[in-house]
């Protein structure tokens, strides 16, 4: 009993330490960061955060990220719900192969796709738009969402559909009034994972944007490349990029356990 608690505390300490160090750095002046190794800020300052909130350069990055992540979640859910319904309810020629092909895209390394993505989206005039990044992220998010939703839908007995049709429900009415409420939790789980993987991705987002749609992750990355960077601001921006994720995790912690229990991540 005792031993396992010690192990857990050690692990959680390991989990928190790098994050604590980032927080610690974000409240220090650059002078303190570079000249002393203090375990907490002696010269406490929020200047780094003020600088971020007052600069349109950083603010735009945040807004761009939120824009393409929301678009991605929207596209993925709208496309995945009917597809998952088809896979869970009907047998049709090639369904197994198609399902498997969709899943292999979850394995596709984005690095392998950057050149064709760039070429394709430049040709159709979508380069440097939010929609381009949202579509590119569908590469791994759409198969995942179909997989998750198919699992949820297969858990709902077919008799429910049949009874509804016998009762004279039209398909759209059945879908919105009966089926949708039943799978709302599955949709929340799928949306959560789409949010997650779109929010954290860098490579495709960086390849497909230049100025207008540049996400916060790229802003951070590019700033780091330039020499003599302002570490305090960088740390503060890093801390801020953790906030949306932390909030989401906090609000859906119970759902998260459920989504993992479906065994489909």
């Amino acid at each position: 009993m005792k031993k396992r608690n010690v192990a857990l505390w050690v692990y959680f300490a390991f989990l928190i330490m790098p994050i604590y160090w980032m927080l610690n750095t974000s409240f220090k002046t650059n002078d303190e960061i570079l000249s002393y190794l203090h375990w907490y800020p002696h010269d406490f300052t929020v200047q780094n955060y003020v600088q971020i909130f007052t600069s349109p350069f950083w603010r735009r990055g945040f807004l761009n990220s939120i824009a393409f992540v929301s678009l991605n979640v929207l596209i993925v859910i709208i496309a995945a719900v009917p597809a998952a319904y088809a896979f869970s309810r009907w047998n049709f020629r090639g369904d197994k192969h198609l399902f498997f092909w969709l899943l292999t895209n979850r394995m596709a390394p984005p690095a392998a796709f950057i050149v064709p993505f760039f070429a394709l989206y430049s040709n159709i005039g979508l380069f440097d738009t939010h929609i381009a990044v949202a579509l590119a992220h569908a590469l791994f998010n759409l198969p995942l969402a179909i997989w998750i939703l198919e699992g949820f839908m297969s858990g709902i007995p077919r008799q429910i559909d049949e009874t509804a049709f016998v009762d004279g429900y039209s398909f759209p009415r059945f879908f919105t009034k009966i089926f949708f409420p039943l799978i709302s939790q599955g949709i929340a789980v799928a949306a959560f994972f789409a949010f997650l993987f779109s929010w954290v991705e860098l490579l495709l987002a960086r390849t497909l944007t230049s100025t207008v749609a540049k996400p916060i992750t790229v802003t951070l990355s590019r700033s780091l490349g330039a020499g003599g960077w302002d570490w305090g601001v960088l740390a503060a921006a890093g801390v801020l990029t953790m906030v949306p994720g932390a909030l989401v995790v906090y609000f859906i912690r119970n759902l998260m356990a459920k989504g993992f229990a479906m065994g489909r991540v």
Partner: protein, 287 residues
């Protein structure tokens, strides 16, 4: 009636054609040409593939990538399973533990790299100071390749073990209490209960954890890119870093495309091998 399914699939297929099918076909097409910006592409058949396989930097990154993926699997799977077993099953700490575990998973991947860079840099990080304190003064992740390697491994363990914990934890919650009671009545030791009750029931969750961790560690890009930039030298240049260098470098795009195809093929092949291997191991005592 049967055709209705295709109407339902239409939106997904439309999206996937833009995000997967057309790009893949483009890569396959490029790979057979010598494509230099500003000049007409020249058909060269399989030559690109041959030169990829002969490129020592490619072979080096591939070897490093395989080693890295297996190292993190060997650390993260047992560690994640152990922690899932150690987590409380109910009570007020469950929610907080899950929140804490979820946080690293939701940090943008390059920010994970930045966090670890700030944490381990020799001029402003805590790690060199701690090593110094324990008597290892030479720690420097940007100069010493062994330090860089193990820092990237530690970062990946930090970043992804929570996923394994969550998967195993959910799997554990799904095992009915009766199984444990029955094992207790039969006088099974804690160890044999673990081997004969817990482990077989967790097989599905473990297969998933291994496959996901393999696929994603094999694709790792942003974290080492930000932490070490693939260096010092090429000591932390993984396949994705190599591939994107070749793809964007203003260099023969056909070569980059050939790298991409070999890379994609390898992920699918090794995932499939792992999957079949895991299905066969202990396949007898499942369900």
């Amino acid at each position: 009636m049967k055709n209705r399914a295709w109407w339902f699939l239409l939106p997904s297929l439309a999206v996937m054609s833009l995000s997967a099918f057309i790009p893949l076909m483009t890569v396959i097409n490029y790979a057979q040409y010598s494509v230099f910006p500003g000049s007409a592409p020249q058909y060269i058949g399989m030559e690109n593939f041959a030169s990829v396989l002969q490129d020592p930097v490619f072979i080096g990154s591939l070897r490093r990538q395989v080693l890295f993926s297996f190292e993190v699997l060997l650390i993260e799977i047992p560690l994640g399973l152990g922690l899932a077993l150690a987590l409380p099953k109910k009570g007020k700490w469950v929610g907080w533990s899950l929140v804490l575990l979820g946080i690293p998973l939701l940090i943008p991947w390059n920010v994970v790299g930045i966090i670890w860079r700030v944490f381990t840099r020799s001029d402003l990080g805590a790690v060199p100071a701690m090593f110094n304190w324990f008597g290892y003064a030479g720690y420097n992740a940007s100069l010493n390749s062994a330090d860089a390697w193990w820092t990237v491994v530690a970062m990946d363990v930090w970043h992804w073990t929570p996923l394994v914990v969550l998967l195993c934890y959910a799997g554990l919650q799904a095992i009915p209490e009766e199984f444990y009671r029955a094992a207790k009545i039969d006088g099974a030791s804690a160890w044999s209960t673990f081997i004969y009750v817990t482990l077989p029931k967790l097989r599905h969750a473990l297969i998933l954890a291994v496959l996901l961790r393999f696929m994603d560690s094999f694709k790792i890009y942003a974290e080492p890119f930000q932490l070490t930039g693939g260096g010092p030298g090429n000591s932390t240049t993984f396949l994705s870093i190599y591939t994107s260098r070749k793809a964007i470098g203003g260099f023969n795009m056909g070569f980059g495309a050939a790298v991409s195809i070999i890379y994609f093929f390898l992920v699918i092949l090794i995932s499939w091998l792992l999957y079949t291997a895991m299905l066969n191991v202990g396949g007898g005592n499942s369900k």
